[in-house]
C-alpha cells in the first residue's frame, strides 16, 4: 500500500517536472511533436529506471562500506552517461528513424536533471532498493505523461493567434505554469 501511495505521489502530486523543475530542457526542446515526445519519454523511462537501481546498489554496496560517499556525484554521472550511450547505440541499430528525429536531445539525456535528481533524491530520502525502483518508475512515468500532454498542447498553440512577443518559448512557459497550477490542485491527494 505504501508503495502505491509512493508511486501516485511521485507520478502526479509531486510531479518532478512541474513541481521540482527537473528536466525543463527536454520539455521545451522535444515537445514540438507528440510522437517525438513519447519516444523521448520511453528513452528517459528506461534510463531513469535502470539508473535508479544501479546507483542505489553502487551507493549502498560500494560507497558506504568503503566510506567514500563523497564520490557519489562522479560515480552516478558515469553510470548515467554509459546508460545513455547504451540507449543511443541500441536506437541507432534498431530504429534509425527515432534516432534521427530525436537528434541532439538523445545524448543530452545525460544532462537531464531528472535522471541525476532521482538518483540523489533516492539516497537522501533513505529508500530501500524496492522503493528506489518504484520511485524511479513513478518519476519517469510522470515525466512521460507531462511531456506528452505538453506536446499536444503545443501543437494546438502553433495555430493559435499569440501576440508576437509571446510566440515560441514564452507562451510555452506560461502554458507550463497553468499545468503546474492544475497539478498543485491535487496536492492533498497523498
Amino acid at each position: 500500500m505504501e508503495l502505491v501511495s509512493l508511486f501516485i505521489g511521485l507520478t502526479f502530486v509531486n510531479n518532478v517536472v512541474l513541481s521540482k523543475f527537473y528536466a525543463i530542457c527536454p520539455l521545451l526542446g522535444v515537445s514540438k511533436k507528440p510522437k517525438n515526445a513519447l519516444n523521448m519519454g520511453y528513452a528517459v523511462t528506461f534510463v531513469i529506471f535502470v539508473s535508479s537501481i544501479v546507483t542505489w546498489l553502487i551507493y549502498n554496496c560500494i560507497l558506504v562500506p568503503l566510506k567514500i560517499e563523497y564520490l557519489d556525484l562522479i560515480t552516478f554521472i558515469l553510470v548515467i552517461a554509459s546508460l545513455v550511450q547504451f540507449v543511443e547505440m541500441f536506437l541507432k541499430k534498431t530504429s534509425p528513424e527515432i534516432y534521427k528525429s530525436m537528434g541532439v536531445y538523445l545524448p543530452l539525456i545525460t544532462t537531464n536533471c531528472a535522471v541525476l535528481g532521482v538518483a540523489l533524491d533516492n539516497i537522501s530520502a533513505g529508500y530501500n532498493l524496492i522503493e528506489a525502483a518504484v520511485a524511479g518508475l513513478a518519476v519517469s512515468i510522470g515525466f512521460t505523461i507531462v511531456i506528452y500532454i505538453f506536446a499536444t498542447i503545443r501543437e494546438r498553440l502553433d495555430i493559435a493567434n499569440v501576440p508576437e512577443s509571446f510566440k515560441g518559448t514564452p507562451i510555452a512557459l506560461i502554458t507550463a505554469g497553468i499545468m503546474a497550477c492544475a497539478i498543485a490542485g491535487i496536492a492533498g491527494l497523498v
Partner: protein, 219 residues
C-alpha cells in the same frame, strides 16, 4: 577591446538564461528569494570559472572521442568540492538550495561552455568567458527572484549568505496583498515566460529599427 567583448557577451547579448535558454531548471527552482539566487549564482560562477580554466588547460591532451565524459568528470569533481565547501561555510544556504547544488553537474551552461568555448580557446579568454557567463546567470536569477519575491511575499529581503542570522535588508512593501502563487512552481514558469516575452519584444523592436535604417539608407 576584443577581450572585453568576450566578457560582455555573456552578460546581455548571449545571456545564458534569457537568450540561450540554458540551465533553466535551477533558474526556476531556486529563485524564490534573493538570498537563494545570490548563493546559487555564486556557486555556478565558481564552478564555471574553474571548469573553463581546467578544460582550457587540458584541451590539447583530451582525445576528441571521449571529451564529453572527461568534461563531465571534471565538472562533477568541482561541483562536489563546492558542495562540501557550502555545507561547511554556508549551512543555511546549503539547506535551502538542497539538491540543486549537486545538480549543477547537469547544468547545461557549464557543459555547454566547456564544449563550445573552453575546449577551443586559451586560458585567459576562457576565464573571461566563464566570468561573463557566470555573472550573466547571476544577473538573470536575481531578476527572476526579484519579481517572484516581491509579488509572492510582498517584500524583499537579503541575508548574509555566510551567516543566516545577519540581515542585510528586509522590507515589506505590500505584505497584505501578496500573491503566494508566485512563490510556487506555477509562478516561476509564468514569471520567466513574461520576462522572456519582454526580451523577445526588445529583439523585435531592434530588428524593426535596423530594417528602417536600412530602408532609409537605400533611399
Amino acid at each position: 577591446m576584443k577581450k572585453l567583448d568576450i566578457f560582455k557577451k555573456g552578460l546581455f547579448i548571449e545571456n545564458p538564461i534569457f537568450v540561450l535558454l540554458l540551465g533553466l531548471c535551477s533558474a526556476l527552482a531556486i529563485t524564490t528569494s534573493l538570498t537563494n539566487a545570490i548563493g546559487m549564482g555564486m556557486a555556478v560562477t565558481c564552478v564555471l570559472i574553474m571548469s573553463n580554466v581546467i578544460i582550457s588547460l587540458l584541451r590539447n591532451i583530451i582525445p576528441n572521442e571521449i571529451r564529453i565524459p572527461v568534461f563531465i568528470v571534471v565538472i562533477a569533481t568541482l561541483v562536489k568540492c563546492v558542495q562540501m565547501l557550502m555545507n561547511a561555510y554556508t549551512p543555511a544556504l546549503y539547506e535551502s538550495l538542497g539538491v540543486f547544488i549537486p545538480l549543477i553537474v547537469v547544468n547545461c551552461i557549464i557543459l555547454g561552455r566547456a564544449e563550445s568555448f573552453a575546449s577551443k580557446n586559451g586560458i585567459v579568454d576562457s576565464l573571461l568567458d566563464a566570468l561573463g557567463m557566470g555573472l550573466g546567470y547571476t544577473f538573470a536569477v536575481l531578476v527572476i527572484s526579484f519579481f517572484r519575491e516581491l509579488i509572492g511575499t510582498g517584500g524583499l529581503s537579503l541575508y548574509n549568505p555566510f551567516d543566516a542570522s545577519q540581515v542585510i535588508f528586509d522590507v515589506k512593501i505590500f505584505a497584505d496583498y501578496a500573491v503566494s502563487l508566485f512563490t510556487q512552481p506555477a509562478g516561476a514558469f509564468m514569471t520567466l515566460g513574461c520576462i522572456l516575452a519582454f526580451v523577445q519584444f526588445l529583439k523585435i523592436k531592434k530588428e524593426k529599427k535596423a530594417k528602417k535604417l536600412k530602408e532609409a539608407e537605400v533611399k
